[in-house]
């Protein structure tokens, strides 16, 4: 009961944020909050395999970027009014581009996951990184879609009954999708599927000995995480109105992992708190000095070395 009350208060505060920001004459805050909401969707997704499945993927920025590029490329073809390969028409409708982004990143995650999950341990970390790097360099080389320079998306996608050119409405949309995605994760983790996944994290060999086919469970979780990152990327590109290979650089994969750890791995709200903390640190330290990474680096180090369980552990919430 107390948890639900806290959740309701947090949600109400998040919904009220744009009005408070306007009232306090800090309109930039809504933009920051939009970024946090998008990144939180990606971090929550990554938490499913990292925190609940024990799979250390160092390449999930790839699906983030793929989702973003799906929006960018569909917009580009919509603008030029010429179908992709003469077959698929472009689109500026979010109801089309968002599912398309999730489909594309889901398919990519299915292929990459099916191959990567044959390995484990360090090799798994490195092979997921290798596939992400391949996609990164592919988009650097695709001159038709801007290559290194990236692609402008001049207008945000359209949604019935909403006007995403109004930043507040985009923020509420991202927040709404984050809440839906959190509820979905909550249900997954508590389902039989989630239990099996947790069992695999704790002892994969024992699960296999119990007769559980481990591989398909891991693969499905990997795909769900990829699709979530794709959705996050699609929303991010709508916010930035720009997509470039930087979205899928390996540092981004590292940042997503940091959000999960910083907030608290294997907890529901941990990744959201982690995303907010990392972006918040970036802005506050960035306001103090341009060399904010010089301070952020040691902070991360201290969190990893001494603060097991992340920020959520401070509030007494741990994996479980």
């Amino acid at each position: 009961m107390r948890d639900r009350l806290i959740l309701a208060v947090l949600l109400a505060a998040a919904i009220a944020l744009p009005w408070v920001a306007t009232a306090l004459d800090q309109p930039a805050t809504t933009g920051v909050a939009t970024r946090i909401a998008c990144l939180a969707i990606a971090a929550v997704s990554l938490n499913l395999i990292l925190g609940h499945g024990g799979m250390v993927s160092f390449g999930h920025a790839a699906y983030f970027g793929l989702g973003g590029y799906t929006v960018g490329i569909l917009w580009e073809h919509f603008r030029l009014a010429e179908p992709i390969f003469g077959l698929i028409p472009g689109s500026n409708q979010l109801l089309v581009t968002l599912p398309a982004a999730m489909l594309v990143s889901g398919v990519a995650a299915a292929i990459i996951g099916a191959l990567s999950l044959r390995t484990s341990g360090v090799q798994f970390i490195m092979i997921t990184l290798a596939f992400a790097q391949m996609l990164f360099f592919l988009f650097v080389g695709l001159k038709a879609y801007g290559g290194d320079d990236g692609l402008m998306v001049r207008r945000r996608n359209e949604v019935p009954f909403l006007d995403l050119r109004d930043l507040n409405q985009l923020y509420w949309l991202c927040l709404g999708l984050l809440v839906v995605w959190l509820y979905f994760q909550h249900r997954i983790v508590r389902s039989r599927f989630g239990r099996v996944l947790e069992g695999i994290r704790q002892n994969e060999r024992r699960m296999a000995a119990l007769g559980v086919p481990v591989y398909p469970y891991k693969l499905v979780a990997f795909i769900i995480a990829g699709m979530g990152c794709g959705m996050a990327g699609a929303l991010t590109v709508n916010y930035l109105r720009f997509v470039s290979p930087d979205l899928m650089a390996w540092q981004k994969s590292g940042e997503l992992m940091i959000m999960v750890i910083l907030g608290g791995m294997g907890t529901l709200l941990g990744p959201v708190v982690g995303a907010a903390a990392l972006v918040g640190l970036e802005y506050t330290l960035g306001a103090i000095t341009e060399h904010w990474q010089f301070i952020l680096g040691p902070i991360l180090l201290l969190v990893v070395l001494f603060a097991r369980g992340g920020i959520m552990a401070i509030f007494g919430v741990r994996r479980g």
């Binding site: 992992m257 010089f294 040691p298």
Partner: protein, 304 residues
């Protein structure tokens, strides 16, 4: 023909450069079981220290010494302060902690040296070119890199196979607990191995200085390729690191040299160059994925 010979030498030069980094990384991986993303930072520190010494003294040989020592010292400090606490942790913690180290080192270098790339002059004795094959002049400094790389490979082989320290290193890679139980000061051994790895990374950085610009972020560019080398070669195996480094160096150089030319036959030149560069960058990762799918433990697995 002359072009192919030149590209082979370029591939070999890039390969030994990767080996200098991969040798240390694979030893650290194999013996301490720690993923050190900050290995590229040691490479960068070596390069910057050498550039600084070269600016101050004008002597490339003093710069070589300075760069190598600075990297080794930085590596040992890193081990004593941070990495020592990570040996017992899982890979995830190691990746994140050393990621934090990268941010710290990169930004520290920006504070000290700024964002402008530094350029280092060639040592005068190696400023010219030598005709390796008839009609193929090749810069003698790049030949020096190849020679240094091969000498280090030979030296490491002798050190690991023929000396008492090497024996401990080999034993530590396969039976860590047993070595400790036999009364070897394993912490000192770890610090020394880490220092050696850092020294080799610094050496690579010093050698890279005159060939490419010295700038912040240079470490990460090569770090990921180094990991590819280590994983292809088999984690913990210096022999594997050598074979994989030469393989990766050759594949990368050959693809970069010839793929854009092949693509120009079928598409406009500027697009062919961009796509060719992308495809050749992807090639190495494709190679790694293939190797891991066929031999999940790499070409020369150390813990057989």
């Amino acid at each position: 023909m002359a072009l192919i010979a030149e590209q082979l030498l370029n591939g070999l030069q890039f390969g030994v450069m990767l080996f200098l980094l991969a040798a240390g990384l694979t030893l650290i991986f194999g013996i301490m079981g720690v993923i050190n993303l900050a290995h590229g930072s040691l490479y960068m520190i070596g390069a910057f220290a050498a550039a600084l010494v070269a600016q101050q003294t004008g002597s490339w040989w003093l710069a070589l010494l300075g760069g190598v020592l600075a990297a080794a010292a930085a590596g040992m400090v890193m081990e004593l302060v941070v990495l020592r606490r990570l040996y017992a942790r899982d890979h995830l913690d190691q990746v994140l902690a050393t990621f934090g180290l990268i941010l710290f080192c990169n930004q520290g270098m920006v504070i000290l040296f700024g964002r402008q790339p530094l350029f280092v002059d060639l040592p005068p004795a190696f400023a010219g070119a030598i005709e390796v094959f008839p009609g193929v002049p090749y810069p003698s400094f790049r030949l020096l890199i190849i020679a240094v790389g091969l000498a280090v490979a030979l030296g490491l082989y002798l050190l690991i196979q023929r000396t008492r320290i090497g024996m401990l290193v080999r034993a530590g890679a396969t039976h860590r607990e047993m070595v400790r139980a036999l009364g070897v000061d394993i912490r000192l051994l770890y610090t020394l191995v880490f220092g050696l790895g850092a020294l080799l990374a610094g050496l690579a950085g010093v050698m890279a200085g005159p060939v490419s610009a010295v700038q912040v972020g240079m470490g990460e560019q090569i770090l990921i390729l180094t990991f590819v080398v280590v994983v292809i070669g088999g984690i913990g195996s210096v022999r594997g690191a050598f074979a994989a480094a030469i393989l990766v160096g050759m594949v990368q150089t050959m693809l970069t040299a010839f793929v854009p030319g092949l693509l120009r036959g079928v598409m406009p030149a500027s697009e062919a160059d961009a796509l060719g560069a992308a495809l050749s960058s992807m090639g190495v990762y494709l190679l790694m994925a293939l190797v891991l799918l066929i031999r999940p433990r790499g070409l020369f697995p150390a813990h057989a």
